[in-house]
């Protein structure tokens, strides 16, 4: 009896009172439906249908039909991510000075909102042999035969540009607008030319934000799924790792193998993200604001 008020008081001093418990439902939810499934999947991946604990992983890394998916996915995801990020920077630098940004950002948010399935259907029409793009190419004599852009590597690549570039650009824009323009003005006043200002002032300040953008864009591109099936050649050049995981789970009903592939997918993503963040550690860290504090 005597202990109770003091315990409550002590807890309250550490920030724990009745109201703090309001966070518990959300925490319980994420633990139950995100953390638990992940740990369960990890456990399941080591209890294969047949063979020893590691046989799923052994099978993945000995069967080229399975392990090739990592290379295939990287071959799509890495160029797309680099292209999107590299193009985003100069465009964002230009757009930040624009007074009416809203129209452009609204147009660019449309493909993100519509999602990959709709973009896949649209591109199947638009890039197809009888689509408008090929019609323009033929009309202007830029091509003699319709260029094949769907059901192959380029279909998936372009769909990832259509949905990925706006995503990358809007993230980059939010980082670029966070840099105080007076820093650049100071550089200009001291005689630095545009290229120097970019290389010496802006880029170092943007590196932390760009690394996050690069990570998020890469992770998205690496987990490409619907457009690889609909716009690509899912049996060959665009058989990405998520297709392999899906087929294991829902076509062969081998949930153990599917979990193993999902874990490998997560591991590759984590590996690349950690590598990128490690590289970021070498770069400048400090305030991107100017003036006093």
């Amino acid at each position: 009896m005597k202990d109770r008020p003091t315990l409550r008081l002590r807890l309250a001093q550490r920030g724990l009172d009745g109201a703090t418990l309001l966070i518990l439902p959300a925490i319980a939810f994420v633990l139950a439906l995100f953390v638990y499934p992940f740990l369960y999947g990890l456990f399941l991946s080591f209890t294969p249908k047949q063979g020893g604990a590691l046989s799923n992983y052994a099978r993945f890394f000995t069967d080229p039909y399975l392990y090739d998916t990592i290379g295939t996915t990287l071959l799509i995801a890495v160029p797309v991510t680099l292209l999107n990020v590299i193009v985003s920077v100069p465009v964002a630098l230009r757009v930040r000075n624009l007074r009416r940004q809203r129209l452009l950002t609204t147009i660019l948010v449309i493909p993100i909102t519509l999602g990959t399935v709709l973009v896949a259907e649209g591109l199947l029409n638009y890039l197809g042999p009888r689509g408008w793009l090929n019609r323009v190419l033929l009309e202007f004599g830029l091509a003699e035969h319709p260029v094949r852009l769907v059901h192959n590597y380029w279909g998936v690549f372009l769909s990832l540009v259509i949905t990925g570039f706006p995503f990358t650009f809007l993230l980059t824009l939010s980082y670029v607008t966070g840099v105080d323009p007076s820093l650049e003005q100071a550089g200009a006043m001291l005689g630095a030319r545009a290229r120097q200002r970019f290389a010496r002032i802006l880029l170092p300040l943007l590196v932390p934000g760009l690394t996050i953008t690069l990570c998020l864009s890469f992770v998205q591109a690496f987990s490409v799924f619907p457009s690889a099936v609909l716009l690509g050649a899912p049996a060959g050049p665009t058989r990405v790792i998520s297709i392999a995981a899906y087929q294991a789970a829902f076509e062969q009903y081998d949930y153990s193998m599917a979990s193993a592939i999902a874990m490998i997918m997560a591991f590759v993503q984590v590996l690349i993200v950690v590598a990128l963040l490690g590289l970021k550690g070498l770069a400048y860290r400090g305030p991107a604001g100017g003036g006093k504090g």
């Binding site: 439902p25 925490i27 994420v30 999947g41 230009r94 609204t106 709709l118 793009l133 609909l230 599917a258």
Partner: protein
């Protein structure tokens, strides 16, 4: 010396102008292709036949009637409405109180909890969707509408938390203290004081959840059964089995999906900035 300097700056000015033109041309090219892609779907959904010409041979609205029956659009729309409504409601009920605690209380392990809320937003849905679907199937929850709702809540609950934290931090804590002094319990303070003050933030967060849930393909795809498909999953199956049905009919369905999504996007954009739709990792 002066002459040299002048030519350099002039060269720089021309270079800068060319660079600016190149960038705007690039942006224009991207936007043009994007709009043309959307227009293709729209035009095709109204066309009678469209093969080797710039525009279709004629126009008709019959594909919409056909899509309505063929794809059982009324059922799909009802399922979509139920899923989205439940996800919006539950993620608000779980997320807003949690965001309140994250904004106002300093408790041990807070950084770990923050990481816990960030992870489902950083890991792509297909990666955690497969183990999640496995667990839900074994619990007998997948293959029906409850599985779809539970799976869709995984990214939306943390999303609401992260969006709401800054909104709550903006409110003066003395208002809450005053309410408590005047005898309001925790529940009363929430309903009478905090929720009305937070309405713009809650509206923004829930509208973003709504738009994201309509378009959430992967998680719904992995957990939906035949009677619990949402619009985007039904569209995927229609495109996947293209050739079975007329392309115009699929595009009519795609237009229904586009309109459903874009109407809510336009409403959402009245309350949020477009950059907020992607600025999901800003909580870190």
């Amino acid at each position: 010396m002066g002459a040299v300097r002048r030519t350099r700056t002039e060269g720089g000015a021309i270079g800068a102008r060319l660079w600016a033109i190149a960038i705007w041309a690039l942006v224009g090219f991207f936007v043009l292709n994007l709009l043309a892609m959307i227009a293709t779907v729209l035009v095709n959904s109204f066309s009678t036949r469209w093969f080797t010409t710039w525009l279709p041979a004629g126009y008709t609205g019959q594909w919409y009637a056909q899509a309505w029956d063929e794809f059982q659009l009324p059922d799909i729309l009802i399922v979509t409405l139920e899923v989205v409504g439940a996800v919006v409601l539950i993620s608000g009920l779980l997320g807003v109180p949690a965001a309140y605690v994250m904004a106002r209380r300093d408790f041990p392990g807070k950084r770990a909890v923050m990481l816990l809320f960030l992870l489902p937003l950083l890991v792509p849905p297909i990666t955690y969707g497969i183990p999640l679907a496995t667990v839900l199937y074994q619990a007998g929850l997948a293959g029906n509408i409850w599985g779809v709702i539970l799976a869709n809540l995984v990214p939306t609950v943390p999303f609401v938390v992260l969006i709401m934290i800054p909104f709550i931090e903006q409110i003066d804590p003395r208002i809450e203290a005053a309410a408590r002094v005047f005898g309001a319990g925790l529940g009363q303070m929430f309903v009478r004081v905090l929720v009305p003050l937070l309405m713009p933030g809650i509206l923004a967060a829930l509208l973003l959840v709504l738009v994201r849930t309509i378009a959430m393909f992967e998680l719904t795809f992995l957990t939906a059964g035949p009677t619990s498909q949402t619009l985007v999953v039904a569209l995927y199956y229609a495109v996947f089995a293209a050739g079975v049905r007329a392309g115009q009919s699929i595009d009519a369905m795609a237009v229904v999906y586009m309109v459903t999504t874009l109407v809510w996007l336009l409403i959402a954009l009245r309350f949020v900035n477009p950059t907020q739709i992607v600025g999901r990792a800003k909580g870190s």
